[in-house]
Subunit: 362 residues, 2 copies
């Protein structure tokens, strides 16, 4: 049986492809850089672990100074709770008897667990599930321009906060948003207005949680925020370079791929398809960037093939059997395709970690 996972010390050139690989030096630098910035701004930093889903990477983020972690779903949080993480924020509306029962178990085990809510229905479900036992901390999720979840106005936010505060088993902990890129002013305005309404009612609002990797270095533009959440910064990807959040030298994840075919002078086929890169375009017109092959465009993906248009390339072109390094458009979703993740330094494999929370979508 072919073993896809390489041994420690294996040169990258000998790693079976397709394989995402993480540069240890760049990973360390990304963790330190973001934490250092947040420390300098006086902001608590709460990394979103969805980008890596790996226990040891989250431990490194905590060791650097993160206040806790952000998970996106109940079952993702359960994996990290099992590993001993004691401050977990789940940024999701949790609904339904089974998930609420799981949330009760989790709240009993995790020292500081917080969830979000953006509707009376969600709050009513939480209130009923936590009518007894250790109270649950809840943030009101606010839509400050992101256009996804969240109450739409400061008045709605205050009203929902009051509902949470009135429930015996819930504690209103504050506000949270996942903003639109470049939307700092909208976030600040929404938070200030909501805090004013709450203050007029004598309701404390200790946490104001802002988020996003694209605006990570502008986190200080929201003075009312007490913490910042970000996931993608830890590995970075093509979309982060485009957003100006990092440079190419900060890209910690590459997907190693092999050229399996050169059917024509201007076409190559790689063995990294949508089951290694995903079809996430994130506004790009192609499916990834090939390092060191300027002009090459990954124009289509099948599940196990990437078709590359070489017509705009000059210079040496890769041949059948050559290994290339692909910069993915979106790193978080690549992590979710693999059971394990390969790390490297100095061109050799250093460790292979379990992607412990792979597939935890419930």
């Amino acid at each position: 049986m072919t073993l896809p996972w390489p041994l420690i010390g294996t040169p990258l050139a000998e790693v079976l492809t397709p394989m995402p690989v993480i540069d240890e030096d760049r990973l360390e630098a990304n963790i330190a850089r973001a934490q250092g910035f947040m420390d300098a701004q006086g902001l608590a930093f709460r990394p979103h672990i969805k980008t890596h889903k790996i226990i040891e990477v989250a431990r490194a983020q905590i060791a650097a100074g993160a206040v806790g972690i952000n998970c996106q779903k109940l079952t993702e949080a359960e994996v990290f709770a099992e590993a001993g993480f004691d401050d977990i924020l789940i940024t999701y509306n949790i609904l339904g008897a089974a998930k609420l029962a799981g949330l009760r178990d989790l709240n009993a085990r995790v020292a500081r667990l917080t969830v979000v809510a953006d509707s009376e229905t969600t709050v009513a479900g939480l209130a009923a599930a936590f009518a007894s036992g250790k109270p649950l901390a809840v943030l009101v999720e606010c839509d400050t321009g992101g256009g996804r979840c969240g109450v739409q106005t400061p008045a709605e936010a205050a009203a929902l906060a009051i509902k949470i505060a009135e429930a015996p088993g819930l504690r209103f902990q504050g506000l949270l948003t996942y903003p639109s890129v470049g939307g700092a002013a909208a976030v600040e305005g929404f938070l200030q207005a909501t805090m004013a309404l709450l203050a007029a009612r004598g309701i404390d609002c200790p946490v104001r949680s802002n988020g996003g990797s694209p605006d990570l270095w502008q986190a200080n533009l929201v003075p009312s925020a007490t913490e910042h959440r970000a996931g993608t910064y830890v590995y970075n990807d093509r979309s982060m370079v485009r957003a100006g959040e990092c440079g190419a030298q900060d890209l910690a994840m590459h997907v190693l791929a092999t050229v399996v075919s050169r059917p024509t002078p201007t076409r190559a086929v790689l063995d990294a398809g949508s089951k290694a890169l995903t079809s996430d375009l994130l506004g790009f017109s192609d499916f990834g960037e090939i390092e060191g092959l300027a002009g090459a465009r990954i124009v289509s993906l099948s599940e196990e093939h990437a078709v590359v248009d070489l017509s705009a390339c000059s210079g040496a072109l890769p041949e059948v059997g050559d290994q290339v390094r692909v910069i993915p458009n979106h790193t978080c979703v690549v992590s979710n395709l693999f059971e394990r993740m390969v790390f490297h330094r100095g061109g050799r494999v250093t460790r292979v970690e379990d992607v412990a929370a792979r597939g935890t979508v419930w």
Copy 2:
């Protein structure tokens, strides 16, 4: 710990979401319909197991009359070989020492193993790896308009066939193509021309393998084909309905999702994001179809959220906590996100199968 996988007998309304679920009756009908058509045309049928990656589903396809199975990568084939499948075609250029060693092991274990090649480099690697032991059967992969892998002309195909035939450890078994949709005439022309060149050289060409689910019911339009390969037909998806390959009543896979937010009168958010549906658009302008909610459009996906635009809907709209059924744009990639797959009949769970070959991209 919350258990995402439901017990047998669970009503679908109680299944944790997001969850892909397979309708047993429709699955059976899809398997029988395609096999019956191929039998009537006198074509061997070789299902591509990448769509389901499940041992029991492949067994059902063989039981219905399939001649063998099609896998896309070496490690995918290894899973099915381990389960006893004795006729396996791997439609991939296999390169590099480690993969070729794995291929040697596989060829010793599988009664009838076949691979493809589209370059002299690939053939040379195979020839060297199989210089001793049981010979390996090889098909020449031909590009008949699909624009992915494959030799570009009948003359190239014949030349490569000769290279294969000349290698002591290889057996030239025939030709294979993955055509462009509606490209039957191009396939037939390419096969005929290549066969003529080979016949002139006294080289037999026993297998002519055509493929694709979109043109499954037009497989007879390529009279020179001896077998047809198809994967997607077994579950079907939105792209198959659009291609006219099936009707809505033949859709065996749905992704169950819950409405977790109704932030505005025209917006809903579901808990099925790209980590449950993938971002595969396949030419659609939205990320899936919600059954029974005409006019609803899944306009954006985050990893764990689907944002739905309800502005074109009339009639009752779903509320927070309601379950909906999403028809995915592309079924094959959804299978690859989940460790297990839930099956149902009469509104209740019948079994939960391991997606045994999930993540086998090497």
